[in-house]
Amino acid sequence: MSGCALFLRRAATAARACPALVALSASRRPLSTSRPSRAFAKELFLGKIEKKRVFPFPEVSQDELNEINQFVGPVEKFFNEEVDSQKIDREGKIPDDTLEKLKSLGLFGMQVPEEYGGLGLSNTMYARLGEIISLDGSITVTLAAHQAIGLKGIILVGTEEQKANYLPRLASGEHMAAFCLTEPASGSDAASIQTRATLSEDKKHYILNGSKVWITNGGLANIFTVFAKTEVVDSDGSVKDKMTAFIVERDFGGVTNGKPEDKLGIRGSNTCEVHFENTKVPVENVLGEVGGGFKVAMNILNSGRFSMGSAVAGMLKKLIELTADYACTRKQFNKRLSEFGLIQEKFALMAQKAYVMESMAYLTAGMLDQPELPDCSVEAAMVKVFSSESAWQCVSEALQILGGSGYMKDYPYERMLRDARILLIFEGTNEILRMFIALTGLQHAGRILTERIHELKRGNVTTIMETVGRRIRDSLGRTMDLGLTGNLGVVHPSLGESANKLEENVYYFGRTVENLLLRFGKTIVEEQLVLKRVANVLINLYGMVAVLSRASRSIRIGLRNHDHEILLANMFCTEAYVQNLFSLSQLDKDAPENLDEQIKKVSREILEQRTYICAHPLERTS
């Protein structure tokens, strides 16, 4: 029944997008409803494009759009007129009246369901608002720590009582939330968490003891989501230490926090240590199951990432405005800066990155908003990696356009640069997320390919012949057709070439993944340099899919400046295609482009001595 409803909804969406598509989806949909649709990114690992997940580009209804525009207007006005980012950065504190205004705008409960007093925004709407909030890094981080991770646990796994008890106060901003996971000895290593919760004798309370570091909002929050080790009796009767999540109120007693940390960027956000000393937490405040904290933490972390894409895009759009103003007024050698090729290049770069990450972010948000609740954690992680790295690159380029002025505190660029640096670190460092992206996909592909690989290893003649034959055909170079272009294609013809490039990349990526699994099997976990490349290719592929989907939609419904979008999309696809080809060739065994062995040796030699070991260039032997 729900599948049918979905079909209607999707069809309605598609009908607006393109009449031709209605026929297409109508003809295909009934066949595929029986099979649960798979996560898009994971299918890429098999060399397939799960078209109906990403084409057409997700849309919101007109009502929703009107609703969100009502929100956007006042928020944008507030951020442009009343928020003084320079002052926040200088004083290391968000002024109280600014916080009050944020609360009154409802920004503390954007994703809290409406029945609990929040705005109940969908992921897409949340991303849209994030674009505006990102005009100030400190406020973004404060709000994200409050609702993207701080209270997310309650929304995701909280009981009805917990929701009713906490969400209204949190949504109104009366209470602030914080997420307490990191410890001095435990970053992403859950096994080394030292904070401990022991059940009291009357079995009504847990006694919580331990310290958490780098807690955003740690000094301001009243409600903490705390992860601690508890003793759990396993199914086989043995007692084990397992992680459990708790909702801890500051009023429970024994909660103290250190003084705010002095940071490089996002200086207005409050980051400090939080200590729990014999804090009595009622058993009702266990979040999720006892011993199920690990899953809770993972879900919270995975769910919050996609919004970084739109936030960074919002920041970049503002950045383009600011720098373009400068480039068009500043004159050197009787020419405007905007007339110099090297300056123009930087604008093209910023626009392209903004376009791609925006497409990726809204595509992911759209996927997340689908009623079947798909697992989009890989996609979200890709958005996070791409947007954080682009942010760093673009802010740096923007600063470069300004030259010396950009380096001065009078201009916002140095602050934006400092603020942007944290994006590569928090919510899982980009290195860790690359591992996540690659390994999750490889796990999926590895399971499906198990049979094939076993046959190849056993020496099944048919399978081997088939593989060899396919390799020969591949090496002769054939055009891949995964159904993106052509008469029934979902991509607009003006993007046809880019779509072909994507198809070729996807096909060879699938081959490469199979090859890698054949070569490394489960030991691929140790090949981090290989995994990094797999993740990079996948991020590029996802970016290509997102821009193709979005640009196609823009052409079909005739959005303003869609020719500009085509330019950007084609540009990105060509660049990504070349990068992918290079990465894929590096993934071949014994490829001359592959410098892994040298890289490992150099670092080993350095790390053995813990110093730079080359002799000084001025050194002599006699």
């Binding site: 996540f436 290893k457 099997g521 489960k522 006699s622």
Partner: protein, 432 residues
């Protein structure tokens, strides 16, 4: 083939293979005689012999009971109260030039000076070597005709020149441009000293840094500093911490000969500390030693604290915890592994040894001193208090106690004694 070609070939061969032939000929009696017989001819075909041209080691008492004074010995005679240093050495060399304008007997003098260098402490000084080379008359020994160039021209002088370079090489002194200039002036570009020079330029640089664990040239005199250096030298972990458990205290009455409190310096890395903390207290740990370590010309002795390898049934298998990494899977749930093509692991039978928990260097090698070390270790390793410690010290303690200085190696034990010691060791085993 004309005879000229043949001779050219012979010359090339002798030059290229000189080193090898020389080494092969070492010790053969005729090679000693031959050059001397041909010396007057100035066209000796004897190949250059590196061993032969070495400076003969001066004191060989059994062979020459009464040593005739070498010529020019008086130049190095010590005036009363005079210091033996670079200045006086240079003065002696300059005096030779002054009193002997025709440089008669300069080869003998150079050999003598080479022998004396160590006494004056200038054996590593490049300028002194250049000064010695400068004694040779210039341009005289340069071959002038084709015939001279083919055969060894002025062999004795060339050998002497090689001896100078050889001694430089032995002391690791790299010749410089000035050396090259002098050699060209004296012997010409195509001469054996020049060949030696070129080889030194090539190889000395390569060999100079070949030791991945370099030892400083001047070792510290203080036994504690020396022990620190030695321990750092053995310990591969750079995070290891050196602790001085006891500073040496010497009894003023008896002098430095018999220190009442020998120094104890220990080293332990964090990993070793963690391993000791997890050690099963039911299994004893051993203090073993002394083992020798040579640092240049000094020998130091160290002791180790170690345990036996755990029997396989007691070893804990490292299991990947189920809920470990919050961000990505630490292992893939697949039932196939690495293919043979990508398995670069060599099949090596590794000898597994028990863990070593700490090392120390002490002024004395007796059980009392080492027990103090163990006491000191207990402060940072509380677990050690519960573990029985067995002392397995090689050699009888009495012997080792008499060797008070670090420089003195313990008396070499013959095979039988070692057997004996093993029995005694077992008897000596006791709990700390």
């Amino acid at each position: 083939m004309s005879w000229v070609q043949a001779i050219l070939l012979a010359r090339g061969l002798s030059r290229g293979w000189g080193g090898i032939c020389g080494a092969a000929l070492t010790g053969a009696p005729f090679s000693q005689v031959l050059p001397q017989a041909l010396r007057g001819l100035h066209c000796s075909t004897a190949t250059h012999n590196s061993e032969m041209s070495l400076v003969p080691h001066p004191p060989e008492p059994p062979k020459k009971p009464i040593k005739a004074p070498a010529p020019h010995e008086e130049l190095f005679r010590q005036e009363p109260g005079g210091e033996r240093d670079k200045a006086s050495f240079v003065r002696a060399v300059q005096n030779f030039g002054q009193y002997n304008v025709r440089k008669r007997g300069h080869v003998d003098f150079i050999y003598l000076a080479l022998r004396k260098m160590r006494e004056y402490g200038v054996e590593r000084d490049l300028t002194v070597y250049n000064l010695l080379l400068d004694i040779f008359p210039k341009e005289v020994f340069r071959p002038r005709s084709v015939i001279q160039r083919i055969f060894l021209h002025y062999p004795r002088q060339q050998e002497c020149g090689i001896a100078v370079l050889e001694q430089m090489e032995n002391h690791g002194v790299m010749p410089n441009k000035e050396t090259e200039f002098l050699l060209i002036q004296i012997f010409g570009r195509k001469s054996y000293p020049m060949l030696k020079y070129l080889r030194m330029r090539l190889w000395l640089t390569r060999f100079k840094n070949i030791n991945p664990f370099p030892v400083p040239r001047d070792l510290p005199q203080d036994p504690v500093d020396l022990a620190k250096l030695g321990l750092r030298h053995i310990e591969p972990d750079l995070s290891a911490r050196i602790t001085v458990y006891q500073m040496p205290l010497s009894d003023d009455l008896t002098g430095t000969e018999d220190p009442i409190q020998p120094h104890i310096v220990g080293i332990q890395s964090p990993d070793q500390q963690a391993a000791l903390a997890h050690h099963n207290p039911a299994r004893p740990v051993f203090v073993e030693g002394p083992f020798s370590l040579w640092l240049r010309s000094k020998c130091v002795y160290y002791h180790i604290l170690r345990a036996d390898l755990l029997p396989p049934e007691e070893r804990k298998v490292e299991k990947i915890p189920e809920e470990w990494n919050l961000y990505y899977p630490m292992q893939l749930d697949l039932d196939y592994g690495r293919s043979g093509w990508d398995d670069y692991e060599f099949d090596i039978d590794e000898v597994e040894e028990g863990p070593i928990f700490a090392m120390c260097m002490a002024g004395a090698h007796d059980q009392a001193t080492l027990a103090k070390w163990i006491q000191g270790l207990q402060e940072t390793n509380p677990a050690l208090a519960q573990i029985p410690v067995i002392f397995r010290l090689a050699g009888s303690t009495g012997e080792l106690l008499t060797s008070s200085g670090l420089e003195e190696p313990p008396r070499p034990l013959c095979e039988v004694q070692e057997e004996d010691d093993d029995h005694r060791k077992q008897q000596q085993q006791g709990r700390s």
